[in-house]
């Protein structure tokens, strides 16, 4: 194992971007990292709010119209290698909001997240469970370690 992958495996910085979900996923994710019960830091996962520091971007919510550009801008600001975790059913496929206008293309919901930025891991659930989020972030490790 090279020193690069060794160090990457021991410090993963996660940034959370909420794009208009119902708050349930956001709080479960923040909870999973802040609460001493789950304590993501023991798995070497750190929460950050600075895109320049992040390795993994966790996105929740169906990406509403006003959130599209901020999401893209934040994604651009993260230095490579970067990976995106889409958490929650809204982020995966738009959730209950996807078909808001039936067959007419919706102007409000731009999501799912895949339409906007490449997604590396998908964590299902409405709302996601903290354990699943941790598992999702950790499941990205092989990809993250092998990236240049």
């Amino acid at each position: 194992m090279s020193i690069k992958s060794f160090s990457r495996a021991r410090a993963i910085h996660v940034m959370l971007v909420y794009t208009g979900g119902c708050n349930g996923c956001d709080i479960e994710i923040v909870n999973s990292i802040l609460s001493p019960r789950f304590d993501a830091e023991q798995y070497k996962v750190f929460l950050t709010w600075n895109p320049r520091e992040a390795d993994v971007l966790v996105v929740t919510g169906p990406v509403t119209h006003l959130n599209r550009k901020p999401l893209e801008a934040i994604y651009e600001a993260i230095p490579d290698p970067k990976l995106v975790v889409a958490a929650g059913s809204c982020a995966l496929m738009g959730g209950v909001y996807k078909n808001i206008h039936g067959d007419i293309p919706s102007e409000e919901i731009e999501g799912p997240v895949e339409n906007i930025i490449p997604v590396a891991a998908k964590v299902p659930g409405c709302a996601v469970r903290p354990q699943d989020v941790l598992a999702g972030v950790v499941s990205l490790l092989p990809t993250l370690l092998d990236a240049d």
Binding site: V17, Y18, T19, G20, G21, C22, N23, G24, C25, D26, I27, E28, V30, N31, L34, S35, P36, R37, W49, G61, P62, T64, H65, L66, N67, P70, I74, G95, V96, Y97, N99, I100, H101, E108, I109, C126, A127, R129
Partner: protein, 375 residues
């Protein structure tokens, strides 16, 4: 203190924050207009997470629409589904079994506990007191597990259905026993936290007098819920709700309307919630949990108000051949936005986010197109 006036009208610069910001748990944009780091004016822009739930609800069968209201908010999901069911039950004259009412009250109070704990944790996090925030999150985890035990999911439990509660949410002896034991645990933990919180003179001096919202101004801005009670106005809709007739509880108020009053008020109100849950466990009647014996008919517009953890929630719709028509939902944060903008004035920028957090924002609830024009 009657009314706050900005120190001067000079606006030196504008600092926008958001839509993604560590102090905010949800996307919104706030523009702070400051002079020498003192906020003179604040403008909160919502609508960032407008998804248009009413648009989806329109024309859906009422049962489906009810379960959809849960997706409005991940914090007070139970309140939305409760009030939505309640709206239809009022319109259709459905009699709810007593046991179901009790279970709904238990769920409502558990949700109040988890919402208030989240508020306390988030408030402590915003003043950068990580240790207290983590301690509250630890307590909150007990409530979350109880909610998961009753409803089957940690966030959206889908407890209420038309005519009562889902049979899965019925409470048997073992569940009641666990509920009872955990209430003791929560009370013990919360007492310890409240004592430590009050004994921490650094923290108390840090949050006293920050984000003041005078009572007069609060009434003028039509603030609801705990944010109003923290200014000293004893107004709680639970006293008018028939569900709470059997329960004995106090309305907690705090005098000052600053961050300290708000945080303390939530902590003290949590004790009242524990009290209500204990009464409910002791007196829960036997019987069915759901009444399926009702008929659908067309109704006029039905309205229902309930007290949810963050204030007064309003649901209204009409029923037409079993489908929802003309749906309007008004959430507490809608009224509290004015309070948030007002509370920031005159505080340091570091306190501005705290003053916004102080009013318990839930913009995911609030983001919907509503325009009520009274003529």
């Amino acid at each position: 203190m009657e009314e706050k006036v900005p120190r001067s009208n000079i606006i030196e610069t504008e600092i926008p924050m958001g839509t993604v910001h560590p102090a905010a748990l949800e996307p919104y944009r706030v523009r702070l207009f400051v002079e020498d780091e003192i906020v003179q004016e604040a403008e909160i822009t919502i609508g960032v997470n407008h998804r248009g739930i009413e648009r989806i609800m329109e024309g859906l069968p009422v049962e489906k629409a009810n379960s959809l209201t849960e997706k409005i908010c991940g914090i007070c999901s139970n309140s939305h589904i409760w009030n939505s069911c309640r709206t239809a039950e009022i319109g259709l004259d459905i009699e709810i079994p007593e046991r179901a009412t009790y279970i709904r009250v238990i769920m409502g109070e558990l949700e109040r506990l988890h919402s208030h704990f989240l508020y306390l944790a988030h408030g402590c996090e915003t003043v950068a007191h990580e240790t207290f925030s983590m301690r509250v999150f630890y307590l909150r985890e007990i409530v979350m597990e109880l909610l998961a035990m009753i409803g089957g999911n940690r966030v959206q439990y889908g407890c209420s259905v038309l005519g009562g509660v889902r049979p899965r949410c019925d409470l048997d002896e073992a569940k009641l026993q666990r509920l009872k034991e955990d209430m003791d645990k929560i009370e013990e933990g919360l007492t310890g936290f409240a004592e430590r919180f009050l004994a921490d003179s650094i923290l108390i001096s840090r949050i006293t007098g920050v984000g003041v919202l005078p009572a007069k101004q609060a009434i003028k801005l039509a603030v609801t819920g705990p944010s109003l009670r923290a200014t000293g106005v004893a107004r709680d809709l639970r006293t008018n709700m028939f569900e709470y007739d059997d329960f004995d509880f106090n309305i907690v108020t705090q005098p000052d309307g600053d961050v300290k009053s708000n945080l303390l008020m939530r902590a003290l109100e949590s004790f009242e919630s524990i009290k209500i849950i204990r009464q409910a466990i002791a007196n829960i009647p036997e019987g069915k949990v759901i009444n399926r014996d009702w008929e659908m008919f067309d109704t006029d517009i039905i309205e229902s108000y309930i007290e949810v953890p963050r204030g007064t929630l309003y649901h209204s719709y009409a029923l037409e051949s079993g489908r929802v028509r003309h749906c309007i939902i008004r959430t507490p944060s809608m009224a509290n936005i004015g309070a948030m903008q007002y509370a920031c004035i005159g505080d340091h920028i570091t306190d501005a986010q705290l003053s916004i957090v102080q009013c318990d924002p839930c913009f995911t609830c609030t983001d919907r197109a509503i325009e009520i024009i009274r003529r």
